[in-house]
């Protein structure tokens, strides 16, 4: 790899501003190292001789450079208990808020979209069973949705390799999975049967609306890949799929401030979360 000095302050800020305008991702000084590393990687791969040359490539989205750049931050590989701080926020803050407007016998509905191969919705299910003291008092409905039907099929099958389970405490693995070979774990049928999976394109209202309204939606690291109009449409769809007062969690580098003015921002100790205004 060629040696490049770090970005100047001005270059870093301009890059962040461009990425924010283009994707809605926010990078603070704390993330600077990762951003610089990624720039250097991409400069090397694209044989860009200077930051300006690379930045021009990014700005014009040459050969899909924006998506290439952003992919490193979304890390397509998924695993159980990813972004655990949001799960913590779910059980310690968000559900408590939702319970204020629920009556006995009401359901709690949670949507994981995109759900990819199912790690996220299953994680939510396991986390609730393990950590939410009210888990037996309410009906909990978890839906996982993705545009990729192959991913949905894998999610329904519920088989995962060791790597996907690395963040799970051993007793959780033992409780909810059955070993199925050297590098394969099968989610218990009970759990597998409790999460429903659907195919959805979040930009298509005809596909999102039938899912009904949810108390909490997890929509991580997908809005950043859309253009302005699609992002706006998706945000409106997700707004419609939330109960008034319901919450939506984005990826931890994403900000709704670039995406849509429809939501209020709620800052909890574990996460920044967005809320459909209550009536």
């Amino acid at each position: 790899m060629l040696e490049f000095p770090a970005l100047t302050q001005d270059e870093f800020r301009r890059l962040c501003e461009f990425l924010y305008r283009r994707t809605g991702m926010t990078f603070t000084e704390a993330k600077r190292y990762y951003v610089e590393r990624r720039v250097i990687e991409r400069m090397t791969t694209t044989e860009s001789s200077s930051f300006e040359t690379y930045f021009a490539r990014l700005r014009t989205d040459l050969q899909g450079e924006v998506e290439q750049f952003v992919n490193a931050f979304t890390i397509n590989e998924t695993y159980f208990y990813r972004e655990e701080h949001q799960l913590t926020c779910l059980t310690s803050e968000l559900l408590a808020e939702r319970l204020k407007v629920k009556r006995p016998g009401d359901s709690i509905r949670i949507w994981s979209v995109p759900c990819s191969t199912g790690e996220e919705p299953y994680s939510i299910a396991i986390w609730l069973l393990e950590n939410w003291r009210h888990v037996d008092d309410y009906h909990i409905e978890i839906v996982g949705s993705d545009i990729d039907t192959d991913a949905i099929a894998l999610a329904r099958a519920g088989a995962y390799g060791n790597r996907a389970l690395t963040r799970l405490p051993p007793q959780v693995v033992e409780k909810y999975f059955v070993a199925n070979g050297a590098d394969s774990w099968q989610i218990l049928d009970d759990l597998r049967g409790s999460v429903s999976f659907t195919r959805v394109n979040i930009v298509e209202r005809a596909e999102t609306k039938p899912h009904g309204q949810f108390d909490v939606i997890f929509c991580r690291n997908v809005l950043i890949y859309f253009d302005d109009l699609s992002r706006r449409t998706a945000a409106e769809n997700l707004f419609e799929n939330l109960y008034p007062g319901g919450f939506i969690c984005l990826g931890h580098t994403e900000s709704m401030s670039r995406i849509s003015p429809l939501f209020d921002v709620a800052r909890f100790s574990d996460a920044i979360v967005y809320q459909r205004p209550a009536r």
Partner: protein
């Protein structure tokens, strides 16, 4: 296990049939907040809905519903919908100006034929917003339009908006216009600063190895 599973959503029946245009337009005019919002979204897919959407925008007080109305017009993305949105660009209400501007930005190349005339609008704020639209146009056109602004614009804030765009997309062909503008506004510290920054960035674009 307290987790429950409902029948899969796709099995819940065929997708909703095409909305009834008359019902949608009626809800646009007379519904509750939720009904007007929903109708605005549905109108995006109906033919000939631009006049009804524009009409609704003139009366609408709720920012949430307005957002859906402007979204629908952006979704339609025809010259007719562009012209409808343009009529709100001069609103006294800053929120409406922002919503209209965001809607235009989402329409991308459908708006481009309108950008040059907008850069000559009588209203300085409109000319500034037009510079924002220039940023997304193909580089050579953007540079040419911005240089045109720098040479003919009397209002410093509009020049500043053009400089902002050149600082991002500018090439060496923009340097003469930048330098001429700097001379014209030599007593305006912000413009001097901005032009200096833009010139610096444009000059550093000549590819050179860092090592």
């Amino acid at each position: 296990m307290p987790l429950i599973r409902k029948p899969p959503v796709e099995a819940a029946g065929t997708p909703a049939s095409a909305p009834d245009a008359a019902a949608v337009f009626a809800a646009l005019a007379r519904g509750t907040d939720d009904e007007r919002w929903s109708a605005a979204r549905a109108a995006a897919d109906l033919p000939d809905s631009v006049p009804a959407l524009e009409d609704a925008l003139r009366r609408e007080r709720s920012p949430v519903v307005r957002e859906a109305l402007f979204s629908a017009l952006a979704h339609i993305a025809t010259t007719q919908s562009v012209e409808a949105v343009l009529r709100f660009l001069r609103s006294d209400d800053a929120a409406v100006r922002t919503e209209a501007s965001d809607s235009l930005l989402a329409m991308k190349d459908v708006v481009w034929p309108y950008v040059a005339p907008l850069l000559r609008d009588a209203n300085a704020d409109v000319r500034i917003l037009a510079c924002g639209l220039v940023r997304d146009m193909p580089s050579q056109v953007a540079v040419s339009l911005c240089c045109g602004v720098l040479d003919s614009e009397a209002e410093p804030n509009v020049c500043a908006a053009a400089v902002e765009v050149l600082a991002e997309v500018g090439e060496s062909s923009a340097l003469p216009a930048l330098e001429r503008c700097a001379k014209r506004f030599s007593d305006a510290p912000f413009l001097t600063f901005s032009i200096q920054m833009a010139v610096g960035r444009v000059r550093s674009q000549a590819p050179k190895p860092r090592a």
